[in-house]
Amino acid sequence: MSDKHKPRIGVFVCHCGVNIGGVVNVSAVVEYARALPDVAYAEGNLYTCSSEGLYRIKEAIRKYDLDRVVVASCTPRTHEPLFRAACEEANLNKYMFHMANIREQCSWVHAKEPEKATEKAKETVKMAIAKAALLEPQTEPEIEVQPSALVIGGGVSGMTAAISLANQGFNVSLVEKNKELGGKLCELYRLYPSDKLSSEVLGEYIQSVRSNPKIKIYTSSTVKRVDGFIGNFEVTLNINPSPDWKGSFWGTEEKLKAGTIVVATGADVFKPIGMYCYGENRGVITQLELEKLMKEGKLGKPKNILMIQCVGAREGKVGGRNYCSRICCTMALKNAMIIKEMLPDSEVSILYRDMNAYGKDFEEQYEKARHNFVQFIRYDDASPPEVSSDANGKLSVKVHDILGNYALELDPDLIVLSTPLVKSEDATELSKLLKVPLGAEGFFLEAHVKLRPVDFATDGIFLCGTAHGPKTVPESITQAYAAASRAGIPIALGKVRTEAITARVDETRCTGCGTCVKLCPYSAIRKDEHGVARVNDVLCKGCGVCSASCPEKAINMRHFSDAQIIAEATSALGGA
């Protein structure tokens, strides 16, 4: 901040319709703000984020010669970029903008106490103004983007993403841990919605990946280490790892560079050991094992086949697999129809809780199955079927059909258990390497469940397919194209700007103790030849660990300086 000029702050208080205005007395907050030091202008808006609201911010910057802007409204997570952009359009550095959240922190949580909510909103705005007075313009470093992408996982999602990125004109490295490409499709028989064999579809994909000169394939390879950041990831691969005598896996190392990364590592299928005689009686198998039997022509001629849905899924208990695995109902429908076609004399029954034949084509398939005499028996969530196996290995099943309201006893030759997809075994390690989160069920967690389904919160890393959660083949392919679009954007642009919120070292204070070097989670700090800490602005994510732990208080965060934070806190405590 220049000493010569007094700050000129503009304050915009949003009603957010009645979201804020219905509780907080917005005009009282505006009046209060207007009287605070350094405030040159204040107004209320019905929706500050509407195009009219943004126009008013820009107009006020020009008209009142504002050099800082505070918006008191909702959350910076969704709206800060918008307001910052408006400031930039009025030639104000976007770091001269600050936001106060008077919706989540005032009107929503104190909806029953409007007076107190209004007082809290005033205080919140006062704090924001105190910080705004000390804001400084920042510049965002612009970095070149490596013109290539890395796709981790060579199943149908990974291959689709790789093909699309290559067709967009970019080089792609495709890494698969198994010897062969194909993932779970290698184990499937036929793919709905088509009559095609999985092997046929897979053959076409592998052919187009292999013949594409822009795609470099690494099979039998895993990701060992990931350094860098969007635009400049440096990835170390472990190729052909084999166990040594100690059980550690060693292979040849290869380093590659990538501008962006797509995670397409898929999912595993839950093995229901100990449930419904699985593992005890060979007549009890999973849907995936059924697919394999059909694929290899080893199904034999069972007369009565019984499928049980929701085995180990939708458990509805603490620590359980509480989610619906989305694909099991339709997989059962598909396989029931295939069996009916292969063995016309067989009886197929499906024991289910809710038939999740969502959307257009699955509902048709469900109808077709009923038409073809597949029997549907609905059991209650609270009383699942009971399966027992006698000394001769003969299976019997007791179930209460809630639609007909009667008890049934069945003697199937084959029981097929529909089990959920679960997180892949290497998801945890990969999430650590990439520093991206997993959700409660262990699937990778996207940046926003509604509007950013294939982005990670970390810039430059994207996800698709069943690594994100259970989905069908076409849904995985759709997501793979989506990830290819998102991952292609920075590469197409050739450069990206990164946040200016990074650590700044006061060289005169740094004693070279190295605390920050050790603590930095992003390896962004090194000591230079004089023993002074140096921050790589592009690697630094602005987390502030170094600043908080520096014994000499030599590190300050841009945009979150000690002075700014203290000003905010002092104001909250009633100080000037």
Binding site: G17, N19, G22, Y47, C49, S50, S51, E52, L54, Y55, C74, T78, H79, A85, E89, N167, Q168, Y192, S194, K196, N322, Y323, C324, R326, D354, N356, A357, G359, K360, D361, E363, E364, E367, I402, L403, G404, N405, F443, H448, V449, K450, L451, P453, V454, H468, G469, V473, P474, E475, I477, T478, Q479, A480, Y481, A482, A483, A484, S485, I489, A492
Partner: protein, 438 residues
């Protein structure tokens, strides 16, 4: 050869496809039929399963479309004619007259205040009123007034002219004519969304006859803070808070003998969300959901349903009601249904009933498909070239589809497919410009 893309439909799918392409440097024309982009998502109160305020998370994306230098927004406009092929389509767009000069209108709203004509507000599903000169909603993009000539007194009776007199920017122009815009684009993305089945066709549910039977989209507006009641959950008949609300699933959908045999995919979980909103707005009200199968298939959805049942006390009944009767004096409703679990006929009294109607293909898909030389499927959705491996490709090269107009799907699926369609369009541009070089 062109390097730009036409996106048809300004809902969340069209918005996402446009932003993805624009942010990689591709020129996009985003055509929207109504006066504002935003689509269905702009009408929703909250979104499942996170209960985010729908317009709050959508508005920044809408504004980004307006601000982005690579996006030309063509609102209140329709595709008239398409010819050509991948890499080189010629498209004729008709921009309808707003009778308001786009560059002059500041969205101040003075005209709307003074206009004497009140018309049912489409954005609020006809429950609230708007004026004959209007902006569809407060966060509309662009925030420019439009005169609805059908109801405007100047156009019907050559009188009034108040808006022209009061407009401080001199933006009203009664002589505006439809404008023809010709574009040359490399590819086209269709994202036209869905229509809502009119449940008055199912007479036994009494929609249109009984005041306290609503559709779910009407309920969204009713419960929304910016809706016609300011978010107060009240019965249309007497303005009182209902003691019970019953949501009925599969109204018109999953009907094997009707026109819409398919499942709309989103209703089970949005009804769950709406039930939670009932409890949050009015804790003493009891929500019920009558359903066939609980299809909570998305990420976190089953957990959301579990939470609704356990934490909020939403009651789920496996049932498909046969009919609804109204008590003429109290306007209370009686639902007759077969309890699927016991097989017995039962009766449930309800103060308010919310029908969850089939979400159906848009009627104008037929015209667009004919114009573009692409096929529709048997239900009227745009037909994918190959459902298994090419769900965004149509039967014509260079024309792509995304969102609900391809098949039923929720918001994140629509967003993902929109990005996917953008990838396909980006591939087309790469391919056709390479061919040109050769």
């Amino acid at each position: 050869m062109s390097k730009s893309v036409l996106v048809v439909g300004g809902g969340i799918a069209g918005i996402q496809a446009s932003l993805d392409l624009a942010s990689r440097g591709t020129k996009v024309y985003l055509v929207e039929k109504t006066p504002s982009i935003g689509g269905r998502m702009a009408q929703l109160d909250k979104t499942f399963p996170t209960l985010d305020c729908s317009i709050c998370i959508l508005a920044p994306k809408m504004i980004e479309c307006l601000r982005h230098s690579n996006i030309s927004l063509l609102t209140y406009s329709e595709v008239q004619h398409v010819e050509g092929e991948e890499g080189n389509f010629t498209v004729k767009i008709l921009r309808k007259p707003r009778y308001v000069e786009f560059s002059k209108c500041t969205g101040c709203g003075t005209c709307m205040e003074k206009c004497p004509v009140k018309v049912p507000n489409e954005f609020d599903m006809g429950m609230g009123k708007r004026k004959a000169i209007y902006m569809p909603f407060k966060q509309a993009v662009p925030l420019v007034a439009t005169i609805d000539a059908e109801h405007c007194l100047y156009f019907s009776k050559k009188i009034c002219g108040v808006c022209q007199k009061v407009c401080p920017s001199n933006a009203i122009d009664y002589n505006q004519k439809p404008e023809e815009i010709n574009l040359n684009v490399a590819s086209i993305i269709l994202a036209t969304g869905f229509d809502i089945f009119d449940p008055s066709a199912i007479g036994e549910y009494g929609y249109g006859r009984f005041q306290n039977v609503l559709t779910s989209m009407e309920f969204e507006r009713l419960i929304c803070a910016s809706g016609p009641t300011g978010g107060h959950l009240i019965r249309p008949s007497d303005g009182k808070e209902p003691g019970s609300v019953v949501f009925i699933q599969c109204v018109g959908s999953r009907n094997l003998h009707g026109r819409f045999p398919f499942c709309s995919t989103v209703c089970c979980v949005y009804a769950t969300k709406e039930s939670i909103l009932v409890k949050e707005h009015s804790p003493q009200t009891q929500p019920y959901i009558m359903y066939i199968d609980m299809r909570a298939v998305g990420k976190g959805f089953q957990e959301f349903v579990d939470r609704a049942r356990e934490e909020y006390g939403v009651k789920y009944i496996k049932a498909h009601p046969g009919g609804i009767a109204e008590d003429q004096a109290t306007k209370n409703l009686h639902i007759h249904y077969e309890d699927t679990k016991s097989g017995n006929m039962k009766k449930l009294d309800a103060d308010l009933v919310v029908l969850c109607p089939a979400l159906i293909p848009k009627t104008e898909n037929k015209r667009l498909a004919e114009e573009m030389g692409i096929e529709l499927d048997d239900a009227g959705f745009f037909k994918a070239k190959e459902l298994l491996t090419a769900p965004m490709d149509t039967t014509s090269v260079g024309i792509y589809i995304c969102g609900y107009c391809q098949s039923p799907k929720d918001i994140p699926e629509s967003v993902a497919q929109a990005s996917g369609a953008a990838a396909r369009a980006a591939e087309t541009i790469m391919l056709t410009s390479k061919e040109r070089k050769q």
